[in-house]
C-alpha cells in the first residue's frame, strides 16, 4: 500500500482531536455549576454525567484513531453514531442544567 498523498487518515485524526477539544469545553461548562458556592446535588449529578460523557467521547476518538492507523484506513461506523448520540445527550443535560 503506497502512502496516502492526500493524508486523509491524518487529517481525519486531527479532525477527531479538534472535536474532542470542543467537547472538553462543553463538558467543563456543564461541570462548572457544581463548583459554585451553594451548589445542590443536581449540579453534582450533572457534573458527574458531563465528565462521564467526556470520558466516553475521548475513548471513542482514541479507538477511532486505531482504525485510521490501519492500512487501508477503516471508515468510521458505530463510533460516528455514538459520538452524535453523546453530543445529543450533552444537549439534554445542558437543558436540564439550565432549568434546574
Amino acid at each position: 500500500m503506497s502512502p496516502d498523498p492526500g493524508a486523509s487518515a491524518e487529517r481525519t485524526r486531527l479532525a477527531w482531536r479538534r472535536t474532542g477539544l470542543a467537547a472538553t469545553a462543553v463538558a467543563l461548562l456543564a461541570a462548572r455549576p457544581a463548583f459554585a458556592p451553594g451548589a445542590g446535588p443536581g449540579t453534582y449529578l450533572a457534573a458527574a454525567a458531563a465528565l462521564a460523557g467526556w470520558a466516553a467521547l475521548v475513548g471513542l476518538a482514541y479507538r477511532r484513531a486505531r482504525g485510521l492507523d490501519a492500512s487501508p484506513p477503516q471508515p468510521g461506523r458505530r463510533a460516528v453514531t455514538a459520538y452524535a448520540a453523546i453530543t445529543v445527550s450533552f444537549a439534554i443535560l445542558g437543558t436540564v442544567l439550565v432549568t434546574l
Binding site: T12, R18, R78, V80, A84, F90, G94
Partner: protein, 135 residues
C-alpha cells in the same frame, strides 16, 4: 431535511451500520468515506459550539429585563445544538449510502436554514443592544 425519517428501524440501521446494512452497492474509496467523516465532525463541532454558547449564556449573562429570557436563549441554543448533531449523523449515513450506490449525494436545505436562524438571532441581539444603548 429529514426526508429519511419514515421507517424508524431502517433509519437506525443506516445510522449505526451504514456500510453493512443494507449490503448494497460497492465499498467506496476510503478517502471519500474519510472526507464524509470529517464533514460529520465539522457539523458536530458546530453542534458543540452551540451547546457551549447555550451553557455560557446561562452562566455568564446577568439576569435580563424580561423574566427567564436568559434561560430561554440558553435553551434555544442547546436545542439547536441537539438538532444539528442529529442531522449531522443522518446526513453522514445518507451520504455513505449514496456513495455505495453511486447515486447523487443527498441534498440538504439545512445549512441555509441554520444560517438564517443564526442571522435572525444576531439581528434580534443587535436590536436589543441598540434599544438598551439609546432608550
Amino acid at each position: 431535511m429529514f426526508t429519511g425519517l419514515v421507517d424508524n428501524r431502517r433509519v437506525l440501521d443506516r445510522w449505526f451500520n451504514p456500510q453493512k446494512t443494507p449490503v448494497v452497492g460497492e465499498k467506496p474509496d476510503y478517502r471519500f468515506s474519510l472526507a464524509n467523516e470529517r464533514t460529520f465532525l465539522a457539523w458536530i463541532r458546530t453542534a458543540l459550539a452551540l451547546l457551549a454558547g447555550g451553557l455560557a449564556c446561562a452562566q455568564f449573562l446577568p439576569p435580563l429585563p424580561i423574566a427567564h429570557l436568559r434561560e430561554g436563549i440558553a435553551i434555544a441554543l442547546l436545542l439547536l445544538g441537539g438538532v444539528v448533531a442529529i442531522r449531522a449523523v443522518d446526513h453522514w449515513a445518507r451520504t455513505e449510502r449514496a456513495m455505495r450506490l453511486g447515486t447523487d449525494l443527498p441534498k440538504s436545505r439545512f445549512p441555509a436554514v441554520l444560517a438564517l436562524v443564526v442571522a435572525l438571532g444576531a439581528a434580534l441581539l443587535m436590536v436589543a443592544v441598540v434599544i438598551k444603548a439609546f432608550w
